[in-house]
Amino acid sequence: MFGYIVRRLFSAALVVILISMTVFAFFFLVPKDPARPLCNLNGRCNEEKLALLTEEMGFNDSVVHQYGIWAKGLFVDRTISFGPKYKCSAPCLGISYSTRTEVTEDLKTKFPATLSIAIGASIIFLPLGVFLGVIAARNRGTFIDRGLVSFSILLYSIPFFVVALVAWIFFSLTWQIFPDTTYVPFTQNPATWFWHMLLPWLVLGLTNSTAYARYTRGQMIETFGEDYVRTATAKGLHSRTVMLRHALRAAIVPIITIFGLDFAYLLTGTLTLEWIFGIDGIGRWSIEALRQPIDFPVVAATVLVAAVIIVLANLVVDIVYSVIDPRVRLV
């Protein structure tokens, strides 16, 4: 198991490095004058100024060399200059072109917002979805089941941004129940943090729960047909015990797997949600960085963070899988 984790971490690191290289190459190879956007930002731009900036930022060096400098910055402090000089302390992900702040520092303030959303929403949608799925499966074919499934498909088929927008318009704007949904750090004021996050949590939690209700329902119904569930009934166990301790225990395994990957995906940024509720998180940050002029250091950082999260989540899911399914041995 230990050897397995070490090997997986090694390959995970490899994947992250490859992704960072790809992103780096992609962004540096495509534009003709990578310094032009910045030059435009710094007031009037002329050929002389552009040439100076291009040289200063190292764009005249080979892409490999530039990548080397960027990657080295993850471990040692470096100084970045485009016009003025900026100190960037390790782990340095560069200086944002638009805000002129250290990307790492921005990440530190924006990631907690996204993390708050992901955790809060998960606490709602995972138990709620599983609960509804179990109820539907147990009452399969009855109006309870049909009602739950229809409602779930209905909610699922409405685009998420519509749900979020309608929720914001009514609960935040019109009725003023959650007038402010911006992110306040937990460490600063837990009560405000909770109150501000509650509407985004509910919106994301309820919409996501429909998918989990349907996964769970399907898994449960499949598990009901398993021999070991029949064995459990034949032992004389109460149907509730059979359902929860035997059927759900087995049905939950693939759901946990899906959840692990979903959670990782949420951590890479809940774009629409952050945008509508004005939360300063990873999702909004990464989409804003793509506006012209492209804020390359931020884009590289968000892609890198997303890669790390997805790769780690896969590892965690595999490890958790081996814990909840004793037949799986990690070697």
Binding site: E226, A232, A234, K235, G236, A250, P326, R327
Partner: protein
């Protein structure tokens, strides 16, 4: 069909002590409504099992042998099952009984051993936990007491180092060990009736023999009745006191094992016997498969359910086979042997046509015996 309700209780086996058999199934029908129509899985089935006795139920897949036994435990979901007739366990009617009552019965008075222990045991719980759970459902004991009981049972069914193997998961056991664990789990509450649904089908022959021996030992020890569901006549010959042959959801022949295996009077049973390889028989003996396919349970054949596959149909006068369902009537040769067949003289056909085909040596011996008898 009320004539055949108590055919087993009068079979006179020495281990029968109760006047009323522990299990009495009377006119049981199990049907499943589906989109395509009503699946008539079991029709008018009657049998009984006393404690200490073994009833073997034989038949092909889909003949209703498992379905009828699962009904004894009420394992068919009530919403999608139509149960008719009567099942009395220890004198209590269980058709239509409340779920709470069924729960008390399951695993305690009647326990079941399933065919494939790998799928029938929960993959995520240890063997010990699953056995303890079965014990604790019916006994108000602590976890450690239940665990002690589980170790005791594993030991009893011949699992070496039960104390350490108890914390293994099912997939860490071999096939034979898993089946032993399954048996331990079924016997943990000293059930009065054990339903073994093809308990040895998934095992190789040597392990199969061990498991059957174990079941017989345990039966003597606990004095439980056993229903042995199988399609293996070898298992029947070794284990069963009585046999019930099922076809298309109905009983087609029933009686004491020795009688049925040596003097079968129903063409389907002949077919079963013909398709069993016999190692003691001459190598010239032929294996004769039963032609055709098992009948549809949605649209059962008219008349005798076996008539489309029966090679002896022409020996029955008129279109009796295709038009009229034969009753389960006593055989001429033995009072506790019943068969559902229109043939007027099945025992003669068996001796003259079937036996020479499947066991020529035996047939010669019998004919020789007859001649000896004639000379004397």
């Amino acid at each position: 069909m009320s004539t055949d309700t108590s055919f087993l209780s009068g079979s006179g086996s020495p281990s029968t002590r109760d006047d009323v058999p522990f299990l009495v199934v009377d006119n049981l029908s199990v049907r499943f409504p589906t989109h395509d129509g009503l699946v008539q899985a079991v029709t008018d089935l009657s049998y009984s099992v006393s404690r200490g006795q073994t009833l073997g139920i034989v038949g092909e897949s889909g003949s209703g042998k498992s379905v009828s036994s699962m009904a004894i435990l009420g394992l068919h979901p009530p919403q999608s099952t139509r149960l008719e007739g009567s099942i009395k366990v220890g004198g209590h009617e269980i058709v239509g009984a409340h779920e709470d009552q069924m729960r008390k019965l399951r695993g305690a008075d009647v326990a079941m051993i399933f065919q494939d222990a790998l799928t029938a045991l929960h993959p995520f719980y240890t063997i010990g936990r699953q056995i303890s759970e079965a014990y604790r459902v019916h006994h108000d004991v602590s976890k450690s007491e239940a665990r002690k009981r589980a170790i005791e049972m594993l030991d009893r069914v011949g699992i070496p180092q039960a104390r350490s193997r108890i914390d293994d998961f099912p997939h860490q056991f071999s096939g034979g060990m898993r089946q032993r664990a399954m048996i331990a789990m079924a016997l943990v509450n000293d059930p009065k009736l054990l339903i073994a649904d093809e308990p040895t089908t998934a095992l190789d022959v040597t392990v199969q023999a061990q498991i059957l021996d174990l079941l017989q030992d345990l039966q003597r020890e606990f004095d439980s009745g056993i229903i042995m569901i199988t399609h293996d006549l070898g298992v029947i010959a070794e284990m069963a006191d009585d046999v019930l042959v099922m076809y298309g959801g109905r009983a087609v022949e029933t009686g004491p094992t020795k009688q049925i295996l040596t003097h079968p009077e129903m063409p389907y049973t002949w077919g079963l016997l013909s398709s069993v390889p016999d190692v003691t028989a001459s190598v010239d003996a032929r294996l004769i498969p039963i032609p055709g396919n098992p009948p549809s349970l949605l649209n059962p054949p008219s008349g005798c359910p076996f008539h489309p596959r029966c090679t002896h149909r022409d020996k029955v006068p008129g279109d009796l086979c295709t038009s009229t369902l034969p009753d389960l009537l006593p055989s001429k040769s033995s009072g506790d042997h019943f068969r559902r067949c229109h043939l007027p003289d099945p025992e003669v056909i068996y001796r003259q046509e079937i036996l020479p085909e499947i066991a020529p040596d035996l047939a010669e011996a019998i004919i020789a015996g007859d001649e000896d008898g004639g000379r004397r």
